[in-house]
Symmetry: C2
Subunit: 734 residues, 2 copies
């Protein structure tokens, strides 16, 4: 079905009405607030594109990673008109850019707008109440701010009213989520008493009729995409399918990742890697930090043969221990890099740390950059990369990245490039894997719109535990992935809490880049680097091992969630508001999330011996005690033994595996299917080679799990004929 | 002399050289970094305009308050070429705006860029050292930030190398003062050690050759003005004369201003005003806060006849007590205002506090707005206004002012309007006084470029004592005025320190808008409003009275400094670096300042029983003890009795007056001329009616004070023939 031919035109009449209305309400004579007829086009079922003015060339859709996942969208038919009336959107252009006004309802919650780790419902005023707030879609390395700046400023939001809006721009757009008053409307009156405090003077005032204002600098036009629900989850699914569908990890990508000390060479790394194996700590991915390069900050992309005299031999030995390798880099290219002169004409006209900024929006820039990365990494079988420092410092007195005024050979300016740099860098570094037909599962510090198909997980330099969990809760709204990686901890309790949380994320990363020994040996950074281990490190190792094993038991279940992310657009990890849109009590819950379809996780935080957990309507089971709990209520949860509060939904099947230490290409998970409640829904396990892209062309099996009373069955269909990855070894009533 | 005809053209050759150089250094092929030939025009002696691209229409020079003060500039002849070579300025335009690169030297300090109260030398990195920083020229209500955002984001800076640069833009420009590395240049290498701390990774790196980058959104061209020195002070003077020359206050404007409780009506106000007179507290100006209006937030501009039943009678009684009246307002116009419907078509298309935002860039908007203000204020003889809330909240999650996307009938957008709103508002409210030929001395919370001729003093809602003093030190660089007004204090010590500082500012304001009684009655806000006075209030009153009297003794001296500000452009209050440009020790001194030509003030701060005071080379005299101190050294100052550390420069004449309680049109100051040192320079007192604009057309006397050993003389010349304002009653060797 080709939607691009289905053009619906809203012309003359509607814009005349808008102009008349505008004139009538405001008494303003015409002065540049030209509202040309918006063109409305049905892009896919339930997705409309509305074009205002003359959009810019370099937008997220121009650089999309994957085509629209039309098959998935065809499975979500939608009849009717856009949930946001195009005629009620007011477009206005000026020399400085353009803006959009969209209608909002009085008690409408807004989610998304990137991967904020500080904010949740974006319609909540910073001073309390649903009076709206200003959200800045700027990429930042400091996402723990109340401005909405994040590691992935995606101009998509989903409303509690069950629709989504995507503004196709790579500009640093600003959203005012209900806190503006266009002339002609009225805000609630403050009354008329003389105030004698600034708090009273400047308090935000909630409005009966609200307006969303989107301010887009520089652009003289913009495409707006409206996504139908009818539920918020369906609007999100449509957006993710519009992005191309969610990324499917290789099976090993769901295992544990350990990142070693930045100053270690080959010998120290191999010794530590062997130690983890000796202690049976589950670990699939080993991360090597900057030390592997001959020059860093900026990067040479050449091995440091002083510390890694034999890169091939080193990688072979790591692979022999069944580690997948994830190598750190950033894009800024140092003068000593062999590609420096070659990539110079395909770089921006400002340096970062004395390094060139490759223009990944040009084929030449990508090609030259990859030639060296192929030689250093991909041709040697490195399975993944960590793409660091690709963000920006928008409100910093000391920004270290390239200025907004930078010009790139592609024609992008510094602002657009900063928005897209992470996406373009990910796309570039994905090419070698795509050529080889392999999956990867990397790390990246910046992303933006339409990023769902990119197999990279966002991480941060910031470290607030609540913000980290909030990132997990928020990631689903925009088709993003986030790891609340564990670095250090202020106490053993904090350490366990952080490990517990990261085990229920898209990438279970323990990042020891600045400590010689693993954190379970010694949490104190100074002592760790003096090799002074904690007296109780053996106990800590045991406890941590159990937590890593818990992660491994969930891998087949989580793999299903990711496959559904790909095919149906449903985020594997998501806020409760997406699953219970009609329950007002979940509208502000930013510290619980669904992990797949059956499990609700409620991480705990250090210093809080118990926490409230709201369980939506329906029956639930405590994961640890199997106690049945009636939902629609708030309970108090505790956690004495590394047992993160987990609740399993009644009427589900929960496949859990025997934990393995690492996942080889022929690893077969032994799975027990837990029957939760009396009438469980069927569950589908997705089985394939877990490594290549063959799943996408159908070389995948769907194992349908079914339970009806004492009758249990599993049925496998599909064209995957390689070694079995999943074996149903038993069934258990939960 | 008409400088506008002196056009010097830099064409073909220079731009070809720039492009060749660019190509050679960076290897970048052409992609939009078009550097069209800049047009260089000599505007006045030592002032050049360089035009790049197609500048915008709505810039500071488009809305200038006063014509260029050519007479003053003709007195500063300058031969030779611009101190910044136009051929070394790199202009670049893109869809998002344009940018300029200007050459900088390695150890160049940068001052100005508006009225920051947090920063001083703008080339100092936030992480230490002269590595440059990012400065945002955005108007803000929270100037105590490290981003350079201020109450007066003026795109003018002066360099320690003795030149000034003004970028004629009302956009939110960003300055990177030496922390960028254009491709083709090299920053100092970090060396090549693997770092394991973020501090080390992200440290700023000072460069041998530095570049100033000015980033201007939206504009496709810009005029840059270069101001010759050869000293920084002369560059500043040229900028102030280019602005039209500094504002001359009415004599009463230099007296003390007291602002009363916002909830007081006429009776309470009159009673308190009488009490100040009874206690002989010097006070010239009485400020009435929002309570005078029938509706506030937003404003009706109509008297509240419940609390002020007889506005004319009230004003008459205040005038009878010899108070000058300063009435509070902001511009946002409430629906109950009589002008609401009339001004609607001449307002922006977003409301603020439910009020219209008048478009002061249209004659109609100004006219309608003034009609009501004339009726309420100016026709009733109100001498001044306080223009509140005309700033912005650029990085706030809860901005209360109009959005940047606002459209105004004049064609200004919200960004340009926010930059200029304070200036346009001041200009509008100045018109009635200009029509009457009267001077005024008001308060305003936002200003921008070319503001020197505007008789309004900036103030803030913020309150850090060190920032307040830094504002005093910084104001001179941009031809701005600032009052570190006293509101409350955390202790009596803090109160004295703040009073001491504000007495040496452009407006000696004590602002009691949220306390019923003056702060000298009770510093604790709660107790003050319960009328519980401090046990030692009589002592405090005595001490405060002395400090207010100290202010009054300086008025003739300060009046000279303001007149010279007008005629020569020399700021009356200024940083030491302007008077001692060759002394590297003053480059970072942001807590001492020159108060006129003879007096160095070094305010103290609560909790610090002594402070270091650096005195530049030459001899100095302690103002209080008359002890002689040899300069070029740092001394320790103390302050036990409200005696702010003051030092008088050797070889000067310091006229000090007998303090009066208030300044009537016929008040004559009795002046003792202090002869400081053995060979004092002459001093000129400016005498005129102190009220009208007649001084500008020559109705002013210059009283030349001269001392040579025991011979003292004063000679008055000029065309002022009104009542004598200054009487030399004695001479004293200091």
């Amino acid at each position: 079905m080709d939607y691009s031919t289905k053009m619906k035109k809203h012309q003359g009449r509607s814009s005349v009405i808008i102009l008349l209305l505008f004139w009538f309400l405001t008494g303003i004579t015409a002065y540049g607030s030209d509202s040309p007829s918006p063109q409305v086009e049905l892009v896919a079922p339930g997705i409309w594109r509305i074009r205002f003015g003359n959009p810019e060339e370099f937008t997220p859709t121009h650089f999309r990673t994957a085509p629209i996942a039309k098959a998935g969208l065809d499975n979500m038919p939608f009849q009717g008109s856009p949930p946001v009336d195009p005629d009620r959107i007011v477009f206005q252009a000026s020399d400085r850019g353009c803006s959009l006004r969209l209608p909002m309802a009085g008690r409408e919650s807004i989610y998304g707008l990137g991967l904020s780790t500080e904010l949740f419902d974006m319609s909540q005023s910073s001073k309390g109440g649903q009076a709206g707030r200003q959200i800045f879609l700027k990429p930042t390395d400091l996402p723990e701010n109340d401005l909405g700046e994040s590691h992935a400023p995606d101009p998509f939001y989903v409303s509690s009213k069950g629709y989504g809006v995507f503004v196709d721009t790579a500009r640093f757009a600003t959203y005012l989520t209900g806190d503006v008053t266009p002339a002609g409307s009225q805000e609630d009156e403050a009354g008329n008493s003389v105030q004698t405090s600034t708090t009273a003077l400047y308090r935000p005032r909630a409005q009966r009729v609200k307006t969303m204002l989107v301010d887009i600098p520089a652009a003289k036009g913009v495409d707006v995409y409206i996504f139908a629900g009818p539920t918020p989850l369906e609007a999100v699914e449509r957006y993710i399918l519009f992005s191309g569908g969610g990324a499917v990890p290789p099976l090993w990508g769901l295992g544990v990742q350990y990142r070693g000390y930045a100053k270690y060479g080959a010998d120290d790394t191999l010794a530590l890697a062997q130690k983890l194996r000796d202690e049976h700590m589950p670990c699939d991915v080993w991360g090597v930090e900057p030390g592997w390069q001959s020059h860093v900050y900026s990067c040479s992309f050449v091995w440091n043969t002083n510390t890694f005299p034999d890169p091939d031999g080193f990688l072979q030995k790591m692979h022999d221990m069944h580690y997948r390798m994830n190598m750190w880099e950033h894009a800024f290219t140092h003068p000593t890099s062999p590609i420096y002169d070659q990539i110079k004409p395909w770089s921006g006209n400002y340096l970062v740390w004395n390094g060139l900024v490759p223009d990944f929006a040009t084929p030449e820039g990508r090609k030259i950059f990859l030639e060296q990365n192929d030689a250093a990494l991909f041709d040697k079988g490195v399975e993944a990369v960590k793409l660091d420092e690709c963000d920006y410092q928008p409100e910093s007195p000391a920004p270290w990245s390239f200025p907004l005024a930078t010009a790139f050979p592609s024609g992008l300016d510094g602002e657009v490039m900063h928005s897209l740099f992470g996406v373009l860098y990910q796309q570039t570094m994905l090419e070698p894997y795509q050529k080889k037909g392999l999956r990867t599962w990397g790390l990246v510090r910046n992303s933006q719109a339409l990023a769902a198909p990119l197999p990279y997980v966002l991480y941060s330099d910031t470290y607030d535990a609540r913000c980290y969990v909030r990132g997990v809760v928020n990631e689903g709204f925009n088709g993003l992935l986030w790891t609340p990686e564990v670095r250090v901890a202020s106490s053993e309790e904090d350490f366990y809490r952080r490990i517990e949380a990261v085990m229920f994320s898209a990438d279970a990363v323990i990042d020891s880049w600045f400590i010689k020994n693993p954190p379970w040996d010694q949490l104190d950074r100074g002592k760790n680097n003096r090799d002074e281990l904690m007296p109780d490190r053996d106990t800590v190792v045991q406890n941590v091992r159990k937590l890593l094993q818990l992660r491994m038991t969930f891998i087949p279940y989580l793999y299903t969630a990711f496959n559904e992310y790909h095919w149906t657009g449903k985020p594997p990890i998501r806020a409760l508001v997406l699953d219970w849109p009609n329950d007002p009590k979940v509208r502000q819950i930013d510290d619980e999330f669904m992990f797949g379809d059956s499990v609700l996780a409620a991480p705990m935080f250090a210093g809080e011996p118990q926490r409230d957990v709201y369980l939506p309507a329906g029956d639930w089971y405590d994961f640890w005690t199997h106690a049945r709990i009636t939902g629609g209520t708030t309970i108090e949860a505790t956690n004495d033994l590394g047992q993160i509060p987990l609740f399993v939904k009644d009427g589900t099947l929960l496949p859990l595996a025997e934990p393995v230490e690492f996942i080889k290409p022929d690893t077969c998970f032994n799975i027990t299917v837990n029957v939760v409640g009396d009438h469980p829904a069927d569950f589908t396990l997705y089985e394939d080679d877990g490594l290549t892209l063959d799943y996408a062309s159908g070389q995948q099996n769907q194992i349908l799990l079914h339970a009806d009373g004492a009758n249990h069955s599993f049925t496998s269909t599909g064209d995957y004929h390689g070694p079995a990855r999943f074996k149903i070894t038993g069934w258990a009533q939960f």
